[in-house]
């Protein structure tokens, strides 16, 4: 089970004055159960990339294979694929439209051809799993707060029971607590359901904390692809393209420069803390030995 992108190119407004190559020769294999982060600044092609995964945008050349099947085959059901690769867009306001949250969440499964009863069952499960309090289920989606709308939108995609969940900047505009809640929710879905999760984000700190694999996009190409530790080791190169490593990564490098043996590859707060504490306790132990 995997998604394979083979030499994917995408050109906007082909053969006009506004021609832009949004994706250049993308080769990726997304394995089952991975938690992937995609970073890159605006216009780096990350949004275009994820819209290829469920066939919303068709590559100008190259192929995409979902579980070994060519999604550009004439008899491939793209509608089916969109149920399997669930894509949650940045602004929930772009998808919420029904009179109640519950009815809105039913929209996806109904489109996939489930009976009303089955769709309601799936909506029920989805709303439970995004932990939206039941009080809100039968209210208008437009009365919800930003964080609640985001949950409703994620539930609307989860209700289709996708195998892969793709989220485009799900925390934009949320306050710190709201941001943590949504990211924890996504991490939990990944952990408990072994779902493949792809998270598009601007925040280095967030991706470092949550994902197992990080893909850095720049000018339509994949610049780096690896674990956060591997990718952030290139912190100087990242800066050259207008990105940055998490704050703690810089801190660790500076500490090493000043002679404190801190772990240079720490990318999360917890790693940094452990490494600094270790450096201090080693020093402490050494001085105790010397005193003896």
């Amino acid at each position: 089970m995997s998604i394979i992108l083979d030499k994917v190119n995408y050109v906007y407004s082909e053969k006009t004055a506004y021609e832009i190559q949004a994706l250049k020769n993308i080769n990726l294999k997304i394995n089952d159960g991975e938690f992937i982060g995609i970073i890159g600044h605006t216009g780096s092609g990350k949004s275009t990339l994820i819209q290829h995964l469920n066939g919303l945008v068709k590559a100008s050349s190259g192929g995409i294979y979902y579980n070994g099947q060519d999604i550009y085959d004439d008899d491939y059901e793209l509608k089916e694929l969109r149920g399997k690769v669930g894509l949650v867009f940045q602004y929930p306001e772009h998808q919420l439209f029904e009179t109640t949250v519950f009815a809105d969440v039913c929209f996806g499964p109904r489109n996939r051809g489930f009976s009303r009863k089955d769709a309601e069952l799936k909506a029920f499960t989805a709303l439970r799993s995004v932990r939206l309090a039941e009080d809100y289920w039968y209210r208008s989606p437009f009365e919800l707060s930003g964080g609640q709308k985001r949950r409703a939108a994620i539930a609307g995609v989860l209700a289709m029971e996708p195998e892969v969940l793709v989220l485009d900047e799900p925390t934009a505009g949320l306050d710190p607590k709201g941001r943590d809640e949504i990211l924890d929710l996504v991490a939990k879905l990944h952990r408990e359901r072994q779902m493949t999760v792809i998270l598009v984000s601007h925040s280095m700190e967030d991706v470092a904390k949550y994902v197992q694999r990080l893909i850095v996009m720049n000018h339509g190409s994949v610049l780096y692809d690896g674990t956060p530790v591997e990718v952030f080791a290139h912190y100087r190169e990242l800066e050259e393209v207008g990105l940055a490593a998490p704050q703690v990564t810089y801190l660790m490098h500076e500490l090493r420069k000043r002679g404190i043996p801190a772990n240079g590859v720490a990318t999360t707060l917890e790693e940094a803390k452990q490494s600094i504490l270790q450096a201090f306790s080693q020093k402490h132990a050494m001085s105790q030995i010397r005193e003896l």
Binding site: T16, Q51, N54, L56, K79, R82, G83, G86, L87, V88, F89, Y91, E93, H94, Q95, L96, F97, F107, G108, N111, R112, F142, G156, V157, M160
Partner: protein, 266 residues
């Protein structure tokens, strides 16, 4: 397809026509449209053609670019030709099956086609050489006398310029909403008319809500920047007639006189 329509698009260039006051151009366009319905003879046709092509030449907009704009009205042109050709009573020229072409029909078809083509070409000269803002400014100032009969001229022109600014934003937004719903398995294409209309609900509801929200935000932003209607308002780019506009008005008058005289005497 949408890209082929050049009517209403601005073509940046440094020409005499571009520099004219929008009011001059509005007036000229009106006179020109009027003249299209006045000429009847070949001589009149020649005068109009001369006028039109002289202006196009002066505007420095490539003729090919303007002709491309005609693609959008090919269907209308064909219908006009067919109707005029076959449905005008008069002396039969050719007839086959149940249809017959009359001399008057042929003449009408030719003249109507020419009129339509010239109408589109002429008005696209106006839009191609005038930015939408200049155009609304020109309209506001030309229509100012209507204020006396309580037509809210300033408000109308403000609404027009805001609409012009938000059309591209709303088009982009429609695309995003469409994608968000497609991702949830929405289907905008298959089914009969009723089904298709129903499928538009998930698209239209978020679009309208967003548009209202934008309108509300914009109203606040305008108020915060001290907007309080047209009263006491100054302009960064006030419209002022220059020498060239005087000459242009003179030429317009001469042109109009010639077309009227030609109708009368030739």
């Amino acid at each position: 397809m949408l890209r082929d329509i050049t009517i209403g698009q601005y073509y940046p260039a440094d020409s005499v026509i571009h520099k004219l006051d929008p009011r001059t151009k509005l007036m000229a366009t009106m006179i020109y449209i009027l003249s299209l319905f006045i000429f009847r003879s070949l001589a009149g046709f020649a005068a109009v053609t001369l006028g039109l092509f002289l202006v196009i030449l002066l505007s420095k907009v490539p003729i090919g670019y303007m002709v491309k704009g005609l693609k959008a009205i090919v269907v209308i042109l064909l219908i006009t030709v067919v109707f005029n050709l076959f449905l005008t009573p008069g002396e039969t020229l050719v007839s086959f099956w149940k249809l017959r072409i009359t001399e008057e029909g042929l003449k009408n078809a030719v003249f109507m086609t020419v009129r339509l083509i010239y109408l589109i070409l002429g008005s696209s000269v106006l839009t191609l050489t005038t930015t939408p803002n200049q155009l609304t400014d020109g309209l506001e100032k030309s229509l100012k006398p209507l204020n006396k009969i309580h037509v809210p001229v300033h408000e109308i022109s403000m609404m027009m310029s805001i609409a012009l600014r938000f059309i591209p934003i709303l088009i982009e937004e429609t695309d995003k909403i469409m994608k968000a719903q497609l991702a949830r398995g929405a289907d905008f294409e298959s089914g009969n008319l009723v089904k298709k209309a129903k499928a538009m609900v998930p698209l239209l509801v978020p679009l309208f809500i967003s548009a209202f929200r934008r309108a509300n935000d914009l109203a606040l932003a305008m108020e915060a920047r001290c907007y309080h209607g047209g009263e006491g308002r100054t302009k960064m780019k006030p419209l002022k007639y220059k020498g060239a506009d005087g000459i242009a008005y003179l030429l317009i008058a001469v042109y109009f006189a010639v077309v009227i005289l030609l109708r009368r005497f030739l």
